[in-house]
């Protein structure tokens, strides 16, 4: 891939105003698919979770999953949207084998939810309101694997293999209005927005929301508008690109930043931005050109004749509204108070995008402080060095188990970090890693005393100093004992025992 020219970020923001828009697809965690009673599960043996409906076989008819409709209404309400008294499905026609029917059942002119907003918190605590245009129901597509060709990418592939297990999985697509005013914070806002959507769907319990598994996917639209002098009329909106394949919070932020720098460099040289989809490449940190796209992309939408309109009653909407969890901003305030975090500690958590993980870790039994320390400390550090989101490395349950092992004295912090590494590298649960690597703290005083006596015997001068009351000299002995124990001892206990043996 040819390396695109990039403008310095600050310079780009000086010259241009970034204008954003996001489409976030959320896979619902219903038991069955959107329009068939096949299990909503993929990742198993290909083409086993399919019915004639999912394969678009002649004579098969879709039927709407009621639970998916309820989840969609709840999500719409949580996004501050109005719920349409009547909404209908539409066929989005296109020729591509990821859906066997040659159309996707979606919603077009009558989405179930419209006109909302989401409050997003930036790193410095400022709140930003993201306008939501609509949230509509649709079905996910199957998974294509392109075979042959040099790169494995679509161009040049010789043939493709299709697994329809994911075809028909219920999706809600959340579409923002045009977002102005993010300015230099645009990349951060993008990350904070997707993170907030993730927190919302997790607190609603309607999606597993794992970005790395594609449960939550973000298409990021961005264009640049040239700044004009004060008093002059604003410039026209620039041509936008839509970046796809952004599968982590980290990449959302990076992709927006990259596109700002790339587009600014082109515009400044008098070039034009091509309206197209672009693909984000996590490994190179760049986007590459995809399909040209126009506002007039004609999918020949028409009302889906096989499905009847959805007309939720006012009672159902009221019932779902009453069952909504707290709004994200209120929830954040409550959690901060419950956990007793300082402003700085809490901001750290929000910025890390790990609020959900920390909530789940405390739900599994760990203290909030311990959960915060591990997630925003060691786990975030490893995630950063590996270029992935921390949430993909380890489960909240395992972190909670690790915390419990430290609190029980089975592990020191240092040993716990080694155990964490083992868990991340797939060696099993914390208990299994402790057993497998033989990492538990030596709590047997007998073994410690033997090592201490040996260390004291080999350093008689130190022993004499301790007996003279120079307690700090014990450090040398403690160090020798910790070394002998390969670090698997509680230093405080060793110190106690050293002083005890020295004065014996």
């Amino acid at each position: 891939m040819a390396k695109a020219e990039l403008m310095d970020y600050d310079r780009a923001i000086e010259l241009f105003e970034p204008v954003l828009g996001f489409e976030v697809h959320v896979e619902l965690n219903t038991k069955t698919k959107m329009f068939s009673d096949a299990p909503n599960f993929f990742g198993g043996e290909p083409n086993t979770n399919v019915t004639p409906v999912d394969l678009g076989l002649p004579g098969s008819l879709p039927v709407v999953n009621e639970q998916a409709v309820k989840y969609s209404i709840s999500l719409g309400l949580a996004l501050g949207c109005s719920i349409a008294p009547s909404s209908r499905f539409a066929r989005k026609n296109y020729f591509y084998p990821d859906l066997a029917k040659n159309y996707q059942i979606s919603q077009f002119d009558e989405p179930i939810a419209f006109g909302g907003s989401v409050e997003v918190e930036l790193a410095d605590g400022r709140l930003f309101t993201v306008p939501i245009e609509r949230a509509h129901m649709e079905e996910d597509a199957g998974k294509l694997t392109h075979v042959g060709g040099a790169t494995g990418r679509i161009q040049g592939a010789e043939y493709s293999l299709v697994d329809y297990n994911r075809a028909g999985v219920p999706l809600v697509e959340i579409v923002t209005d045009i977002i102005y005013g993010a300015e230099a914070d645009a990349p951060e806002l993008a990350k904070a927005y997707v993170s907030t959507i993730r927190d919302i769907v997790v607190s609603l319990g309607i999606s597993d929301a794992k970005m790395e598994r594609g449960n939550l996917r973000c298409d990021a639209n961005i264009s640049l508008r040239r700044r004009t002098a004060p008093g002059e009329p604003p410039a026209k909106l620039g041509t936008r690109t839509e970046t796809k394949n952004v599968n982590s919070l980290r990449s959302v932020e990076r992709a927006i930043r990259y596109e700002i720098q790339r587009q600014a460099a082109i515009l400044e040289k008098g070039g034009t931005i091509i309206q197209e989809t672009r693909h984000w490449h996590e490994d190179t940190g760049q986007t590459s050109a995809g399909r040209p796209k126009s506002d007039a992309d004609d999918y020949r939408y028409f009302p889906e004749p096989d499905l009847l309109p959805v007309e939720p009653s006012a009672e159902l909407i009221a019932e779902l509204r009453a069952a909504l969890p707290e709004a994200p901003a209120i929830r954040r305030r409550r959690l901060k108070a419950d956990w007793g975090f300082t402003d700085l500690e809490f901001q750290d958590v929000v910025n890390s995008g790990l609020l959900t993980e920390i909530v789940e870790t405390t739900a599994a039994g760990a203290s909030a402080q311990a959960a915060r320390k591990w997630w925003t400390g060691e786990i975030a550090r490893i995630a950063n060095s590996r270029g992935v989101d921390a949430s993909t490395l380890v489960t909240p349950m395992h972190v909670s188990e690790l915390v419990a092992l430290v609190e029980a004295g089975t592990l020191t912090d240092r040993l716990a970090r080694q155990v964490l590494e083992g868990v991340i590298d797939g060696e099993g649960t914390p208990d299994e890693v402790v057993a497998g690597r033989g990492l538990a703290v030596v709590s047997d005083d007998g073994a410690l005393i033997a090592a201490i006596d040996e260390a004291l015997a080999s350093q008689p001068d130190v022993l004499a100093k301790i007996r003279d009351g120079k307690v700090q000299a014990a450090g040398a002995v403690i160090g020798a004992v910790m070394k002998a124990m390969r670090g698997q001892a509680d230093a405080a206990r060793v110190r106690e025992l050293v002083l005890e043996r020295a004065s014996a």
Binding site: G21, E23, T30, K31, T32, D37, A38, P39, E45, P46, N47, T48, V50, T51, L55, L57, V63, V64, N65, E66, Q67, A68, S86, R88, Y96, D98, N102, F108, D109, E133, A141, T145, I154, Q155, G156, A157, E158, Y159, S160, L161, V162, D163, Y164, V175, T176, D177, I178, D219, N221, E242, D297, R300, Y301, F302, P303, L307, L308, V310, E311, P312
Partner: protein, 121 residues
């Protein structure tokens, strides 16, 4: 939004038949193109025949727009039924063998299709 959602389309444009701007404008090129996209092999004779038939259908549908006045609401579902739902309960699925039984080509677990020069929608 704005970005992805195409501009609101009137019902008449929405129900416009595929492959044409104005009614009656079906050409043999359009039919051949659509057949290619749909992976349906058509002989030149079949293309000519279908072009004529599709043009006639389009013409007939166009008559509806002549009689429909602006005060007639668009009808997508003639039967006054709403909220036909299914409970979220897993039912029977096809076996992999059944799923692939109608496929012209497969690799034993997945459908095999020609490479498409295009992208996911």
């Amino acid at each position: 939004m704005s970005f992805e959602t195409p501009p609101t389309v009137s019902t008449s444009a929405n129900s416009r038949p595929a492959g044409s701007g104005e009614p009656g404008e079906i050409t043999t090129e359009q039919v051949a193109h659509l057949a290619g996209l749909a992976r349906i092999h058509l002989t030149p004779d079949e293309i000519t025949k279908l072009t004529g038939e599709l043009a006639a259908i389009v013409e007939n549908v166009a008559k509806v727009t002549e009689v429909a006045t602006p005060d007639v609401p668009a009808t997508s579902h003639p039967i006054p039924l709403t909220n036909v739902f299914r409970q979220d309960v897993v039912g029977l699925t096809l076996t992999q063998e059944q799923a692939l039984s109608g496929a012209p080509e497969h690799d034993g677990s997945r459908f095999r299709v020609s490479a498409i020069l295009g992208e996911e929608q």
